[in-house]
């Protein structure tokens, strides 16, 4: 797949891995749901694993919220550590019990046939109600056949529904690990375009690139030409590539922006590979000192 050309090959996800993940998630749920719910869960897993029954999987996924509840998962420190050991970067802080149940049902449907598994997930995405789609996309990093899931991830970021888009883009290790540069750039630009936020994108800083910086600066110019505001977050992905042209834009924001915009511009300028950057920052010594000391960062923009 040409989309994979510039990403390192991800380690394959084996049947053993899947079984470990089923056990992991099973343990989370066991501590959080009652006996009757456990029984319902077991019954669904039997029906799903047994006959490879499509309707059984669809109904289990559909019924999960009302049978298991929608409480926040809220893993404790040791559970979270074990999870991170299984899947690096897994961030479950916003996850709910029903989402995890749905992910479990999908994992349980895996019988070693990767192509069939991908097709099954495509069906869930195609037929899935909003909550189901969100659960599916949040679970991407847990599933087998990660490369085969790229189409599903792509559909996720093409969604016209913000919460579905964010299920891929936010707190999810999958895009940083698997997206090609063009896909990654589209995702970042779209995040700003739909008034979502860049902060929760995993790997945001690591995957900055020159083409993305160009797209973002072009977008900023478009907004300014229409007398509209530019999100201060935008500059985060511009700094390291702001030699001559873009530097003027950063200076503009640094000099005439409001307090938050000035902070953002200063942070971006502090990553500029040009001597003029230092000159500019020295005109705001307090802010510059705070940035150097790590007291002001991109998470402090509010």
């Amino acid at each position: 797949m040409s989309q994979q050309a510039d990403r390192p090959l991800s380690p394959p996800v084996t049947r053993e891995d899947v079984e470990h993940r089923i056990a992991l998630i099973g343990a989370w749920l066991a501590r959080r749901i009652g006996a009757e719910q456990q029984q319902w869960l077991r019954d669904q897993l039997d029906r799903i694993g047994g006959e490879g029954n499509k309707t059984a999987l669809a109904m289990a996924i559909g019924l999960a919220p009302r049978r298991l509840g929608s409480a926040l998962l809220a893993l404790d420190a040791s559970e979270a550590e074990a999870a991170g050991g299984q899947v690096p970067g897994l961030d479950t802080r916003d996850w709910t019990v029903d989402q995890v149940g749905r992910i479990l049902f999908l994992l349980a449907s895996f019988d070693g046939d990767e192509a069939a598994f991908v097709q099954r997930l495509e069906t869930v995405q195609r037929d899935g109600e909003l909550g189901e789609q969100i659960a599916l996309l949040r679970g991407l990093a847990l599933f087998p056949a990660p490369v085969g899931l790229m189409g599903i991830a792509g559909e996720g970021i093409r969604s016209a529904m913000q919460p579905v888009f964010e299920a891929v883009a936010h707190r999810n290790p999958y895009p940083a690990a698997h997206f090609s540069e063009p896909m990654w750039n589209q995702m970042v630009v779209k995040t700003l375009f739909i008034d979502s936020t860049l902060g929760p994108i995993q790997g945001l800083d690591e995957r900055r690139n020159a083409d993305l910086a160009r797209m973002l600066v072009d977008y900023a110019h478009e907004r300014w030409a229409a007398s509209r505001s530019v999100s201060p977050e935008l500059w985060r992905c511009v700094g390291p590539f702001a030699a001559n042209d873009y530097f003027a834009d950063l200076l503009r924001v640094f000099r005439s922006g409001n307090a938050i915009e000035r902070k953002a511009a200063a942070l971006a300028i502090s990553e500029c590979p040009t001597p003029q950057a230092l000159t500019a920052l020295e005109t705001a010594p307090t802010l510059w000192r705070d940035i150097r000391a790590g007291r002001v960062g991109w998470d402090d923009l509010q």
């Binding site: 309707t55 559909g62 919220p65 709910t96």
Partner: protein
């Protein structure tokens, strides 16, 4: 606060959503039905079901409105047997999704043998899944079609108190109420049932088990029928309690039996808060000031 328990929002514009929200409609129910032209394969039917459950619900949320669905094979397309068979296979998977409040809208269109077959099968499905039912009564030969529908519902063991007979008029209302069903009245601007006629019906029969809806779709129809009817009833001296019942409380009572529609869905919906955006069933809170820009993206 109003509920419009029969609105084909897939055919309506964002202008309608804005007007409905402004007029005080807090929740809509969108029943699966035929669309402008006949669907010819199960793929488009399936995409339609996914659309009303997914994107349409999201679209409603952008205007601060809660959106629910009825799922079913409609009477018109039941006459395409190959399509009907394929749709019946996928219905259980869709009918068990969140925010599905009933099997519907099902019933008769021309009262053919095939319509009868799939009507009965779906009543059985409703019984198995313990879901309420929304019944479309035919616009032609309505009295007999409605009567037959009620006979078949009872025959298949579905309780009348779990069923809304919709598109009721002066000719059918007595039997619907006598037999213990809920009576839905679709209020159109000029044809079929109008607000002034609804007023007379409420005066005659009282507010018990009467429900007002717009059935708004691609044709000439009014997405503000429910609040406008409420206003007319109020101005004409109907008690506030009775107006509330026919334009809000009765719809909530019958469709709430599904467990998928609760008053707190809209009374406890807070403005969009980024930190809360991901928590379970609170994901789709609409903002208090709907952002039209977002809905267009």
């Amino acid at each position: 606060m109003y509920i419009d328990p029969h609105a084909h929002m897939i055919s309506r514009t964002t202008d309608d959503y804005e007007a409905m929200a402004k007029a005080g409609i807090v929740a809509v129910i969108e029943p699966a039905f035929w669309i402008g032209q006949a669907r010819t394969n199960v793929g488009s039917y399936r995409d339609y079901l996914a659309h009303i459950l997914g994107f349409e619900r999201f679209r409603a949320s952008q205007f601060g409105m809660q959106h629910y669905c009825c799922i079913g094979l409609n009477s018109k397309e039941a006459n395409n047997e190959e399509l009907a068979e394929a749709v019946m296979e996928i219905l259980p998977g869709f009918a068990t999704k969140d925010h599905v409040v009933a099997i519907g809208e099902i019933g008769f269109d021309e009262q053919t043998v095939l319509e009868d077959k799939y009507f009965r099968l779906q009543l059985d499905l409703a019984r198995e899944l313990d879901l309420p039912v929304m019944i479309h009564t035919p616009h032609r030969d309505k009295k007999r079609g409605a009567s037959r529908s009620m006979d078949i519902i009872v025959e298949h063991g579905v309780k009348p108190e779990r069923v809304v007979i919709d598109h009721v008029n002066e000719e059918t209302v007595q039997e619907v109420l006598d037999r213990g069903f809920w009576a839905g009245f679709s209020i159109y601007p000029h044809s079929k049932m109008t607000a002034p006629r609804m007023l007379e019906i409420v005066r005659t029969y009282g507010a018990e088990r009467l429900i007002v809806d717009s059935a708004c779709d691609w044709g000439v129809s009014d997405p503000l029928s429910v609040p406008k009817t409420a206003m007319l009833l109020t101005e004409s001296g109907v008690s506030a309690e009775d107006v509330r019942r026919v334009t809000y409380a009765n719809a909530l009572a019958i469709y709430g039996q599904s467990g998928q529609m609760r008053e707190e869905d809209w009374t406890k919906a807070a403005p969009v808060d980024q930190r809360e955006k991901y928590a379970g069933n609170t994901i789709l809170r609409g903002g208090q000031s709907p952002r039209v820009e977002d809905a267009r993206n």
